[in-house]
C-alpha cells in the first residue's frame, strides 16, 4: 500500500470538512461579537470575492465597491445567518449577482465596456496569459462571465451555480459552453 498517497487522499477528504468546521466556528464567534473572528472571515474571503467581481465587471473600482458592499450586506445579515450553511457560497452569490447587475446597468447606459483595469498596487504582475484571459472575458456577456468565474475561479459545479443564480442547470451548461467557445476564439485572435 502506498502510504503517502493514502494519507494524501485522507487529507484531501478531511481538509474541506475541517475548513467548514473552522468557518462555522468563525461565524459563530463573529455573531457573538468577536471582531477578530470576523476579520478572519473577511481576510479569507476578500481575495476571491474581489477577483470574482473584477472578472465580471472588468473595472477595479467597481469591483472594490461590489466586494465591499457584499461584505457590508454580510454584516447586516450576520445575526440571521444560518450557521449550518457555508458562508462562502452565500457571499459569492451576493458578489456575482451584484456584479451582473452592475455590468448590465453599464451596458444599458450604452457606455463602452472598459478594458480589464489592472490595479495600481497589484501585488504581482499578472502573466501574459492571465492578462489575455481577463481581456477576453470582457468580450463575453455578464451572465456568461459570471458562470465562468463561478466555475473556474470559485470552483462551483454547474449544479451549484444553477442553485446560486436561480437558473436551470441546462442554462448554466449552455452559458459555460458558449462562454468557453467565445473565450477560445478571443484568445486565439
Amino acid at each position: 500500500m502506498d502510504v503517502s498517497s493514502s494519507a494524501g487522499a485522507a487529507l484531501r477528504l478531511e481538509l474541506p470538512v475541517a475548513a467548514e468546521r473552522r468557518e462555522r466556528a468563525l461565524v459563530r464567534e463573529a455573531q457573538r461579537g468577536s471582531a477578530a473572528a470576523f476579520e478572519q472571515l473577511f481576510r479569507s474571503h476578500w481575495p476571491r470575492a474581489y477577483r470574482a467581481a473584477l472578472l465580471v465587471v472588468g473595472d477595479a473600482a467597481a469591483a472594490e465597491d461590489i466586494a465591499q458592499e457584499s461584505f457590508l450586506a454580510a454584516v447586516r445579515a450576520l445575526d440571521r445567518f444560518d450557521r449550518r450553511r457555508p458562508f462562502g457560497p452565500w457571499l459569492h452569490r451576493i458578489v456575482v449577482n451584484r456584479s451582473i447587475d452592475w455590468a448590465r446597468a453599464r451596458s444599458l447606459r450604452r457606455e463602452h465596456f472598459s478594458d480589464y483595469a489592472e490595479p495600481a498596487s497589484a501585488e504581482r504582475e499578472p502573466g501574459t496569459h492571465a492578462r489575455a484571459l481577463a481581456q477576453a472575458l470582457t468580450e463575453l456577456q455578464p451572465e456568461q462571465r459570471a458562470v465562468i468565474v463561478l466555475r473556474y475561479l470559485l470552483d462551483y459545479t454547474p449544479g451549484e451555480i444553477a442553485r446560486l443564480l436561480d437558473l436551470p442547470r441546462g442554462t448554466v451548461n449552455s452559458r459555460l459552453r458558449r462562454g468557453l467557445d467565445r473565450l477560445q476564439e478571443a484568445m486565439r485572435a
Binding site: W46, A105, D155
Partner: protein, 370 residues
Amino acid sequence: MKRLFDGMPADAEAEERAWAVVREAYERREPARRWRSPVRPALVLAAVAAAAVSAALSPPGRAVVNAVRRSIGIEGAQPALFRLPAAGRLLVSGEGGTWVVAADGSTRRLGAFAQASWSPHALYVVASSRNELAAVEPATGQVHWQLARRAIRFPRWGGTRTDTRIAYLTTSRLHVVAGDGTRDVDAEGLPAAARVAPVWQPATGDRHVLAYVDTRGRVTVLDPDLGNVRWVSAGYDGARALAWSPDGGTLALAARTKVVLFSAATGRARTVRVEGVRQLAFAPDGRLALVRGNGVLVLDGARVRTLFVAPSRLAGVAWSPDGRWLLSSLPAADQWVFVQTRGTRRVLAVSHIRRQFGGEPALDGWAPSA
C-alpha cells in the same frame, strides 16, 4: 484556467480600504445577545398551536376565538356584506373561487379560480386556476375561452376596447396572449419574473406597454408586440408590487424599504422612503394608497399621510371607482374594512367574509358598474 484566475492580482490597498469600512459597520452593529436553539421555539409554537386548535374546536373555545377576533378587528362591524358603500362591482378570488360583488351586495360565483382581474373596461374577467387561464363573462359566468398552461399566476388584462392583451406568469416565465385567447407567447429571453403581478400601462395609444419585476428586483417596461424593452431599472431589494398611475405617466414599485416612482417615458426614478409596503394602488385621481402592516398610507403629490390604522395586519387594497372609498381586509379578524377617503372620515367594517366567499378572498379590483 483556474491557475490563471488565481494568479490575477488582488489589490492589497483595496482590501485594506474595504476592511476599514466593513470593520466600522461590524463594530456599530448590535451583536446577537443569546443563541437559541431553533428547535425549542418551534416545539413551543407547535404546542401552543395544538392547544389553540383543540380549544377553538370546543364551544367555549369558539367563544374565546370570537372574542379574540373582535379585539383584533373593527368594533361594530356588520355581520354580512349587505351592500358596497359606493357604486361599482368588486372582484375577489380565493379558496372559494372567483366572485363578483354588485353594489347591492349580491354576489355571483364565476368559478373555481384562484386569481382574477378585470379587463380594461370591466367587460370581462380573466381568471386562473393552477393550470388554466380563462376569459369569463362577469354577469353570467360564461367562459369565452380557456388556455391550459402549467402553474399560472397573476393574470392581468390590458389594452383598448378593441385590442387587448393578457399577461400572466407560469412559474417564473412571463407570457402574453391576445384578448381572444390566441397567439400565446412566452417572453423567452427576458430575465425570469419575480412573484409580482405584471401590470399594463393604461392605454394611451395603440401600443401595449407592460411592466414586470424580475428575480433581481429590476423593473422592465416593454412593448411585447414588438419585443422592445423600453427601459430596465436598477434592482430593488424585496420588490413586492407594481402599479401604474391612471394617466399611465408613472409606475410605482413597492420595495422592502422604499416606494419608487418611475417616469413611464424615461424610467427615471424618484424614491419615497417608506418601509414595509406590501401592496399599493392608485386612485382614479392619482393618489397612491400604500398598505403596510396595520396601516394604510396615502401618497398625495410629495406628501405621505396615514389614512387608517387597524388593530391587526391589513391585506390587499382596492379603490372604489369614484375614488372616495378604499377597501382593505383584516384576515385575522375575518373582516373587510371600507375607509372613506374624502370628506368626513368614516370606517365601515364587515365580518364573516370567509363564510360568504368560502374562504379568505384576495381583492382583485373594484370596477365601475356595467
